[in-house]
């Protein structure tokens, strides 16, 4: 399941809803991205996430389908917020559930790596007076390399 929304989410409630009644699930991995208040030494007072409605949903669904094809997942969820967010606020949630823990962990890392480099979101950091578009990170691009080899 994927969702793109302005509102916050409740990690525990999302996981409960996703896994309820499925007793084949032995492990649930999750990752939540939060707004940090420091970027390159400047304090961030807020961040605005812009996205490409329509394409965002398509890309997230495509990435999720790829993870489902690579690992034996019982369930998965991607929630990504847009709009203005303050320090400490939740930005993104990825949840993966599987019979075994490594599949859940690997799929969650895979989803995050692809989402970071493929989902059409852009961050505008507000450092007080000055607003600055976040640069894409080389390390996010290189994190994709590890998924080139066939999945376990």
């Amino acid at each position: 399941m994927i969702r793109v929304q302005r509102e916050d989410f409740d990690i525990g409630a999302e996981i409960s809803a996703l896994t309820a009644g499925n007793h084949a699930i032995g492990g649930v991995a999750c990752f939540a991205g939060l707004v940090r208040d420091m970027a390159g030494g400047d304090d961030i007072s807020a961040m605005t996430l812009e996205h490409y409605p329509g394409m965002t949903e398509k890309e997230l669904a495509r990435i999720e389908a790829e993870a489902q094809a690579r690992w034996p997942l019982e369930a998965s969820l991607i929630v990504h917020r847009y709009g203005r967010l303050g320090p400490g606020e939740r930005i993104v949630l990825v949840v993966t559930a599987s019979a075994h823990r490594q599949a859940a962990f690997d799929a969650a890392m895979f989803l995050m790596d692809f989402l970071k480099t493929k989902a059409p979101f852009w961050k505008l950091e507000d450092t007080g007076g000055d607003a600055r578009w976040v640069d894409a990170r080389e390390s996010d691009e290189s994190a994709l390399e590890r998924w080139r080899k066939p999945a376990r």
Partner: protein, 83 residues
Amino acid sequence: MKLLYFAWLRQKIGTAEEDVTPPAEVTDVAGLIDWLRGRGPAYAEALRDERVVKVAVNQEYVRRDHPVRPGDEIALFPPVTGG
């Protein structure tokens, strides 16, 4: 065709969205970018560094040799920074 711009590309070009009708010799993404550069200094500046311009045609990432046709939705944007 409908053009969409995001993030600093949107800010530099000064619009989020526009309908354009390029001449018939513009047949692919590379040709479209070249043609856009000629539309004024804001376009030329925004599209100066090709490496930081990503393109999606009808909401799918494409390469520079991908065809562009009337009716297409074509988005130009910098590398993504979500997550």
